[in-house]
Amino acid sequence: MAETKSCDTELKTAFPSIVQRDTTQREFSHFFVAKDLLPTIARHLHTQPGLHGRLALLWAVDNRPARNTYELHYLFTLEPSHRWVLLSTELAKDDRVFPSITPHIHAAQWYEREIRDMFGLIPQGHPDLRRLVRHEHWPQGAHPLKKDFPWDRALGRQQGEHRFHRIEGEGVFEVPVGPIHAGIIEPGHFRFSVAGEPIMQLELHHFWTHRGVEKLFEQQPLAAAVPLAERVSGDTTFGHSLAYCQAVESLRHLDVPRRGRYLRSLFLELERLHNHLGDVGAICNDTAYALPHAHCSRMKEQIMQLNDRLTGSRFLRGLNRVGGVALDLTAAQLAEIAAEIDRMEQDFSELESIIAHNASLIDRLEATGVLTERTAWDHAVVGVVGRASGLDQDLRRDRPFAAYDELSVKVVHYRYGDVRARMRVRMDEIHESMRLIREIRLRIPQGPVAVESSPRAQAGEWALSAVEGWRGEILYMVMAGDNETIQRCKVRDPSFVNWPAIQWAVIGNIIPDFPLINKSFNLSYAGNDL
């Protein structure tokens, strides 16, 4: 608490003009700042040694119908204390320009381009003002998240071509890959510049699966948008629906019963388990080592079948609802989970020792696709990728949600930042998830699993929520509108911050290693593109 006060007072002493606002959320400070001062304060938060702020989220709100302004919000997580600091500013009336913080805080680059595309606001001083979400064939002036843009408007088409960064010189050539790839994967475009074998530059051109998710949220009532959250990124169904439900619950001041919170943790760990198992196998498969892939995909299938038996959905769909979870598990079902987990831990440990003794595999994984701690920090990378590059962060421990305040989570992290480190983080987390599931079974209290959500959310109020999904930190900002509608819902999948970092991890590697590196990141295209 002392630390909390000191950070707030320090900011107020350094910048006397900022205004602190009251918040109800814990470990959270909110400041209102003038637009021109914003880059200086953001830089102070980011670089000051005692603060060490990581840009966690940047979002805009079109508040013209109510107050004739656009709002911009910059959320920082202070790394030593895991405290949230939110800086907010307003653009009055016809002002459509805001100062870019990208020159000092690299992690803001995609957020600011996204705001430009979705709201038509211009980040002044941004080094790269090309379109990001809007592909070049979108007509001029189409900014979907503006309130006067109809959600179901048919977009026209104009001529246009994306300008890639070009490297020129003798022997330099470009390799375009995608949007449709060779495997069963989502669409995305990668443009490599190579001279001989090593990659000199990789540029991503994504957002092919942009479905207008954030605009669709605004068409839904607060309580009915859970199915949409489940479909932001299918493999993270439970993580996304949990983050959404938590945000709405804090808007309505609901306390989820303890048993409900324990079940949420249980399901979140099951989701982590089947995805991590699949990833370990897939990383091996991309080195043409098919045996672990066969075993891992078998184990993944077992967990998904277990999900299906328990809940009727292989992806744990339809489980979360505002106020808790939709179904309870019997003692017999919990015992079934524990038995399955015990068998699988044995199964997976045997496989692990086979993998660890394969020298040619380890040789291929070590020192491939290195993401240094510095680059990871600059891009504000989260989750598995961050932990493999030495960033010791995990929301389950740092900002406990669901039942994690009563469960102790051991967070693993490695310093090397290569493919092997990312695989080892996953392997260790598989064991940790299994341990957590057993602990949950022993400690789960009796009682109801959900509360009825009677209180109504106040129009204009908003809440943030954070969940450590299997990929990393999932953030939701939900702002209530009139009559239980959604005024704005900002969704941030961990993929959105981790994608740009892959461009740096591949430099100097050969193109045949790219699928391997990409697999070790295993980012979602749907969650990124929204």
Binding site: W208, K215, S297
Partner: protein
Amino acid sequence: MFRILKKSLKTGVATGRHPQATQSSEPLTPEAHKKASAFNRSLAIREVDTGSCNACEVEMNALTNPVYDAERFGIHIAASPRHADALVVTGPVTVNMARALKDVYKQTPDPKLVIALGDCAIDCGAFKGSYAVTGPVDRHIPVDVRIPGCPPRPADILKALTDIQERP
């Protein structure tokens, strides 16, 4: 070496250890059967994601795991549309993917089948009406087979695919 042998012996045969298909997809039209008869019992599939949430991709991938092992029925995932007999299309066809879908369709040699996989591909599902969605799939290319579900279970997909191979 012994570790690997021991592991394989201990694991046994995983193939077929899955619940039976429950959901019946709509019966195949005679035209679709006629088209499919050209491929005899083998089917090379190219999967195209036109904006799905990736759950359908997870289930398509599951078809290649040892439990479902679709290869044993002659169902093969091709890396290029030019090697494909059938396109499996998922997702509601976003504005950004519409052109790519048409390109892929053109690149696939005739005769070809188009299979719309999942609710999004059939009627845009949760994303119906959005400014960024132009679908469903049959607005852009002719669809022969529809497999509903959000997402359909692998057993259901496998059943629908093997139905295609049946003689009428």
